[in-house]
């Protein structure tokens, strides 16, 4: 296991070393330009974990424990690969390189994004989770245009709000652990019998849900992806968002059936799934459409986890992780697709076909990685209603992704859709990789013979065809669709927030009162009396 342990440490140590190198002026530009190599140990660690089983490491002196097990290794492999592929494209081209402070933000986000897969105690997890969220601000929000500043503000507000939910939830987890330990498996094992269980679970769901864009905490996602440059959007939507998914996988007590909470999460998940489709089809910016597709897909994952929590399915973590790994690759590649189509003057038919196949992979188009993900997740949606909803969600995805394909030729009309030349040139390879690399991971969750039976292929085909029909209908009534602003409910939230700012004036008045001498003197006396009264 020595190799595994070394790789586990290097998963965090390698990108951290690149970050440390930034403090030396002579090394800085090289460290930033070559940072796309930093996730290689993470990729290797994931591969070794997949081949040899889980490994972990405890360093009590550093208050740090790390662990990499099979379900998580699948998502880590996909995420590390995405960081490497997109990073290489973004940083190798000399003229198009992001400026240093953006590159540093990129690096910090990468450390956090890789770290959430391996951190195994509450405090380390909270640290890397914050790293995966907060520095990402710098990947898109330095532009002074009002739209970007607004997106940055909203992004930050949701990130901090999610952190607060999680901190509260983590506090309850730690308080319930009988031996005062903070290792995640220990605190989660103590959760089902914890007196704070019914307070901790909603906080965890809200905290991770904010990162995943679960309704009603979804508004930040389309807003910030629309403002984010293509390479950053690819890694954030692919790898970054999975911090929330991994959080749910790690922190939900999936071994103990909790029917009520499982069903609640499933309801939130399905609601998010269909909400994402419904709002997504009204969007014109292809990046916003992709963001709503992410919302919808994260809803599927939340629903799957909810069903698993209710029914105590031991395979759920692996299945959900495989689904998430597929989404890492496909969503990352789809954002690169936007950049590619914004860059090409003449588009080849073959490329359009490839783009549509990639898009429909999310709906489970047969023979794509997405079809494998749908086939694998099927056992989680056993039973009448859940199976029907899962079927309908695939049809909805097909609809949304066909809408995306239709909007793709207009990509050039929108801000932040240009992509570095290398990413454009290598796009066919990236897209093919995203379509078929999930085949390598599939043996961990299912059997090919089963997945390629005729009935399974037809199972996968029907929702896509249904989505196609819906898309035809949508095209007919496109001009009658309501106009929903990007960010949907968030816009109302912003209005309420602005109005609440007006109440700050009342605080000024209170301050003015207490800053007058008579008031301050009386307060002092009142405090004396109150304290004396409390002691009598």
């Amino acid at each position: 296991m020595a190799l595994g342990t070394i790789l586990l440490v290097s998963t965090l140590a390698a990108p951290t070393a690149f970050f440390a190198a930034c403090f030396f002026p002579s090394l800085r530009s090289a460290a930033l330009a070559w940072q796309w190599l930093a996730p290689i140990p993470a990729l290797l660690a994931a591969i070794v974990a997949l081949a040899n089983g889980p490994f972990d490491l405890e360093a009590p002196a550093l208050k740090l424990s790390l662990r990499l097990d099979l379900p998580v290794a699948m998502v880590l492999a996909a995420s590390a690969l995405l960081w490497i592929a997109v990073g290489a494209g973004a940083f190798l081209g000399r003229g198009e390189r992001p400026e240093p402070r953006v590159a540093v933000s990129w690096l910090l986000t990468m450390i956090g994004s890789l770290g959430v897969f391996v951190a195994d105690d509450l405090l380390s997890f909270y640290l890397v989770y914050a790293l995966a969220s907060i520095p990402a601000y710098g990947m898109f929000a330095f532009d002074p245009s009002p739209a970007t500043q607004r997106a940055g503000r909203v992004y930050m507000a949701f990130a901090i709000l999610g952190e607060a939910f999680l901190l509260f939830g983590f506090g309850m987890l730690a308080a319930a652990e009988p031996h005062g330990g903070v290792r995640i498996p220990d605190v989660v094992a103590a959760l089902p019998d914890s007196p704070w269980r019914d307070a901790a679970l909603p906080l965890l769901i809200a905290g991770f849900g904010a990162k995943m864009g679960l309704v009603p905490l979804n508004g930040w996602m389309p807003l910030s992806y629309a403002a984010t440059p293509i390479p950053a959007a690819a890694v954030l939507s692919g790898a970054g968002v999975k911090a929330g998914v991994i959080g749910l996988i790690r922190f939900l007590p999936l071994g103990a059936p909790l029917a009520g909470w499982g069903e609640a999460l499933a309801v939130i998940g399905f609601a998010t799934t269909f909400y994402g489709v419904a709002v997504g089809v009204t969007q014109q910016n292809p990046k916003a459409v992709l963001a709503y597709s992410s919302v919808s897909q994260m809803g599927v994952i939340a629903a799957a986890l909810g069903m698993a929590l209710a029914a105590d399915n031991p395979d759920a973590p692996s299945i959900v992780a495989f689904y998430a790994a597929n989404h890492v690759l496909v969503k990352g590649a789809l954002f690169l697709t936007v950049g590619t189509f914004a860059a090409r003057e003449s588009r080849r038919t073959a490329w359009t076909v490839l783009a549509i196949a990639l898009a429909l992979s999310l709906a489970g188009l047969p023979f794509t990685g997405g079809a494998l993900a749908k086939a694998a997740s099927k056992p989680l949606f056993a039973g009448g209603l859940a199976a029907s909803l899962a079927w309908a969600s695939s049809a909805g995805s097909a609809l949304l992704m066909l809408h995306f394909s239709a909007r793709l030729p207009h990509a050039v009309e929108y801000d932040e859709t240009t992509s570095p030349a290398r990413l454009v040139r290598s796009w066919p390879l990236t897209a093919a990789g995203a379509l078929f690399l999930p085949y390598l991971l599939f043996p961990f969750v299912g059997a090919f013979g089963d997945a390629f039976s005729l009935s399974k292929i037809l199972d996968g085909l029907w929702p896509v065809l249904a989505g196609g029909l819906l898309a035809l209908g949508l095209a007919r009534y496109a001009n009658r669709l309501p106009h929903i602003p990007t960010g949907d409910t968030l816009v109302a939230g912003e209005g309420a927030f602005d109005r609440s700012l007006a109440s700050g004036a009342a605080f000024d008045q209170v301050d003015a009162v207490f800053r007058r001498w008579p008031a301050a003197g009386l307060t002092l006396l009142a405090i004396v009396l109150a304290l004396a009264y409390a002691m009598v």
């Binding site: 208050k63 330095f142 930050m156 001498w517 002691m535």
Partner: protein
């Protein structure tokens, strides 16, 4: 535990910690501002060594070190005593004072061709007086002795606040002085009542003789209220924003980072060391509630300030609020009280370093931009990356995001409030963190955006390095190992009095 405290090995270090700045003040008076600067910085360097030696001795023996002045133990004589908390606070003061001093050389230095200036003279003497007063407060175990130190602290802090000599700083300082005097009177009255009731003012003896008498009730209420006034706990904060926001940056750093902690520390001494056996049910809730109100009001008002220094001053009011959660969360013999105690003290340290760093960074911004209007910071981060990095790192601690001392404090307090079932304080911690994120965002976001900015003067490299170092310490506190918290527990009364009824 015997009531008589006799000198332990290393006890003389405590005398040194107090005498050093006092001798420095006398020498400075005699030799003028040029020498005062050198004496202040030199004695600060020695004070740091002394503080480290005390730390080494306390952590080596695992027990408080004691010095009985003139060999007389209380009640006849006066004892000096350094437990884990006082040791750590001594070190904090011994780090922040020289940092402020080195930073201040640019503004309060006396160039070789210039004559001695009254401004510089005042600054360097008062800086030493602050560190003398704090040293006495941290190691003294006699309530009258502490009164004298508290007065010295006020009389040193007020001139620091108005050393620039502008009209508005005088008004602010006068306000500060008057309110602090009210506080002193209340404290003194309370101390007199205790002396009347028990015939001693030694903390350990008082704790032993403590009985629930009416005089004790009155004394505790008066002394606490007086100390709250000096700590500027909301709603007794009227003097703080103008005094801290108008003082020169190194003075603000000391005032906000250290001086308010002096009277807070005395409040802790009073309730945890003198009165812990008293059946006072509601006082901790009152102090916690006032602290919570401070967190909310201070943070919201910080969000509304147009000037950076005022924002930072209101943020101090909010952060002081967190300190008072130590009373509901750190008292008693409950298993969670250790978390509350450690969390409250970690907040003292984290805020001391973070706030000092912020005021120094704000000073650098003022020097280079010629203003401290937040609305006009657009693009300034590109021109002054170090100053904004300092604000960002210190802000991380104020928000309570990891890795930082502020996060460690918040985590411990949060865990204590969940374990003890006192939910309300957990909500205060989280809401306060969100509001802090809001005001830190307000400083940083416009500065980080791409816009052109013209500097009046390039930032001072040494000033930047000092401010950044303080901010890094605030962040590094987040990595404090378990042994650090064991150090804080040395001499903690809940542990030593565990056998008492």
């Amino acid at each position: 535990m015997t009531p008589t405290e006799t000198t332990t090995p290393g006890g003389a270090l405590l005398v040194l910690a107090i005498l050093l700045p006092s001798v420095g003040i006398l020498l400075s008076f005699a030799l003028g501002s040029r020498a005062a600067e050198r004496i202040a910085l030199g004695s600060a360097a020695i004070a740091l060594i002394v503080a480290l030696a005390i730390l080494a001795e306390v952590s080596r023996t695992g027990r408080p070190i004691v010095y009985a002045i003139a060999g007389l133990s209380p009640p006849l004589g006066i004892a000096l005593r350094a437990d884990g908390v006082s040791t750590v606070l001594l070190l904090t003061s011994a780090l922040i004072v020289p940092a402020a001093g080195l930073y201040a050389r640019a503004g309060f230095g006396t160039p070789s061709n210039a004559r001695d200036s009254r401004k510089a003279f005042t600054f360097w003497i008062m800086l030493q007086a602050v560190s003398a007063a704090l040293a006495i407060i941290f190691v003294s175990s006699d309530l009258f002795n502490l009164y004298v130190a508290l007065e010295l602290l006020t009389f040193a802090a007020v001139p620091l606040a108005c050393v620039e000599g502008r009209a508005e700083t005088f008004a602010a300082a006068l306000r500060y002085l008057l309110f602090a005097l009210f506080g002193s009177i209340f404290y003194l009255l309370g101390a007199a009542l205790l002396y009347g009731a028990f015939g001693t003012l030694d903390i350990a003896l008082l704790a032993q003789r403590m009985r629930p008498l009416p005089a004790v009730t009155a004394a505790a209420a008066l002394m606490t209220a007086g100390l709250l006034a000096k700590t500027a706990l909301f709603p007794l904060h009227l003097w703080l924003p103008p005094a801290h926001a108008n003082a020169p940056p190194p003075a603000s750093a000391v005032l906000s980072g250290l001086v308010v902690k002096g009277s807070f520390f005395l409040t802790v001494r009073l309730w945890f060391y003198v009165l812990p056996t008293l059946p006072a049910i509601g006082f901790d809730v009152i102090l916690g509630a006032l602290g919570s109100a401070a967190v909310m009001f201070g943070s919201v008002l910080a969000l509304r300030q147009a000037r950076l220094k005022l924002l930072i001053a209101y943020s101090t009011i909010a952060q002081i609020g967190y300190l008072f959660l130590i009373f509901p969360l750190g008292s008693g013999l409950h298993p969670w009280a250790a978390d509350g105690w450690n969390g409250g003290l970690m907040q003292v340290l984290a805020h001391a370093f973070a706030k000092a760093a912020m005021f120094l960074a704000a000073g650098l911004l003022y020097e280079s931009l010629g203003h401290d209007k937040i609305a006009d910071f657009s693009g300034a981060a590109r021109a002054m990356p170090m100053a904004f990095l300092t604000l960002g790192l210190a802000g991380l601690s104020l928000m309570g995001l990891p890795p930082s001392g502020g996060f460690a404090a918040k985590w411990l307090l949060l865990r204590a409030s969940v374990s003890s079932g006192q939910w309300i304080w957990a909500l205060v911690l989280l809401l306060g963190g969100l509001l802090a994120a809001g005001y830190v965002y307000r400083i940083l976001a416009p500065a980080l955006s791409d816009a052109a900015v013209v500097l009046k003067a390039p930032p001072r490299r040494t000033g930047e390095a000092i401010a950044l170092t303080l901010a890094i310490v605030a962040v590094a506190l987040g990595f404090a190992p378990e042994s650090f918290f064991e150090l804080l527990d040395i001499g903690r009364p809940a542990l030593t009095t565990a056998g008492l009824p």
